[in-house]
């Protein structure tokens, strides 16, 4: 049985270590914040200029001057600090963020990532994704293993415009976990979701990978 979105987020949360500074992308990565084990001190950054993100506000207590990078209203906590976008990306680009967890449309067997645009569809923009994959110490991708059509998303080479090259450290899908031994490859299958067989996952993966279960 494949993992749910929450289970994928829980699996990603296991990669977070005590003391980490973490940036979470929108979509499934957002759920990781709820899955951090008790007793750990983990700070979440929002690239619009905030470190130390609190819970969503109670109804009626929203502050329009206080939003996350997904433009949702949030709250501050005791350790919160605010800064400019230039400082936020100095943190990211300068290698001061321990971990970036993002969603993706494609990842290649050499750790290339394509997650910002599909040619022929409206260009929305890359936002902070290119900076995050280029600058964070570790990059973890959470995505469905295949497209709705069944087409693989873990590929020998990305076919969509790239967000970064040789930047991904780990890919968590609904079917299993893949890790790059070092940046650029080789790719290893390190875990299968319960009930998923090696044959299943191999049939749904175009990228070459070693098996290290």
């Amino acid at each position: 049985m494949a993992w749910t979105r929450e289970q994928m987020a829980e699996r990603a949360a296991r990669q977070i270590e005590d003391g980490f500074y973490v940036n979470l992308g929108i979509g499934i990565p957002t759920l990781v914040a709820n899955a951090v084990p008790e007793g750990m001190t983990v700070s979440f950054q929002s690239e619009n200029g905030m470190l130390g993100i609190g819970p969503f506000p109670y109804e009626g207590e929203e502050d329009p001057d206080l939003i996350n990078a997904g433009k949702q209203t949030i709250t501050e906590i005791d350790s919160t600090s605010y800064f400019s976008s230039a400082d936020a990306f100095g943190m990211i680009r300068g290698g001061h963020m321990d971990l970036s967890i993002l969603g993706s449309m494609q990842v290649s067997e050499t750790g290339d990532i394509a997650n910002w645009t599909v040619p022929g569809k409206m260009v929305k923009g890359m936002g902070g994704a290119m900076d995050l994959v280029a600058g964070a110490k570790r990059v973890i991708v959470i995505m469905e293993h295949t497209e709705k059509s069944g087409a693989p998303k873990l590929l020998s080479k990305c076919t969509l415009p790239l967000t970064g090259t040789k930047v991904v450290d780990m890919v968590i899908t609904d079917l299993g976990v893949f890790a790059f031994e070092k940046r650029g490859g080789p790719l290893k299958l390190v875990e299968l979701a319960p009930g998923v067989t090696l044959e299943d996952i191999t049939a749904k993966t175009e990228a070459k990978f070693d098996v290290a279960l």
């Binding site: 709820n34 990306f89 100095g90 902070g128």
Partner: protein, 241 residues
Amino acid sequence: MRNKVWADAESALDGVVKDGMVIMAGGFGLCGIPENIIRALLKAGVKDLTFISNNCGVDDFGLGLLLANGQVKKMISSYVGENKLFERLYLDGKLELELNPQGTLAERIRAGGAGIGGFYTKTGVGTVVAEGKPTREFDGETYVLETGLVADLAIVKAWKGDKEGNLIYRKTARNFNPMMATAGKVTVAEVEELVDVGGLDPDQIHTPGLFVDRIILGHDYEKRIEKVTTRPKGAATAEAR
């Protein structure tokens, strides 16, 4: 005698705006945008504007108002996905768009204001962003050259300001505003509270007044929220992101 205080946004733009100019506009989404000055630009009716701004507002608010009024020729942004009118104008070839990674955009503006012609960054290497730009190796890694950005006019929004133009921003409404304040040939700031000199703690000032040419006390702030997200009273303290 130096006087930076203007009666309102309309008068503060007098003699400053013209067709075809390049304007930096602070804000992230609709958070920390100069609402009063945007309304005044709408009234001024200047056309063929190039905006350097992280986003382009939404259909009926923020820079989206100027877009709907046919005043925008080009956007230099990192994310424009919240605006349907933008999509239509772009697909019809009526709007130019230059996309920058958000951190590169922020740093280009910071560099422009600080007199730095260009800088090397790892962001975008191996992607369309780096196409046609010089690259260079540092410590075995490839970096791409990005240039600094300046504008004819920077419009910024702060929380508090004094009559000298010193500015203090509030929470995440700071975002791009401090860098943009430094990178305009003319910088016009609007604030929610305008005090006499001496009314702000000098240790708390984010933008020194030197960068600000004109300042106005804003009014009728709507401060629209794009995505109101709440938890019910008594809910567990789930982290928001």
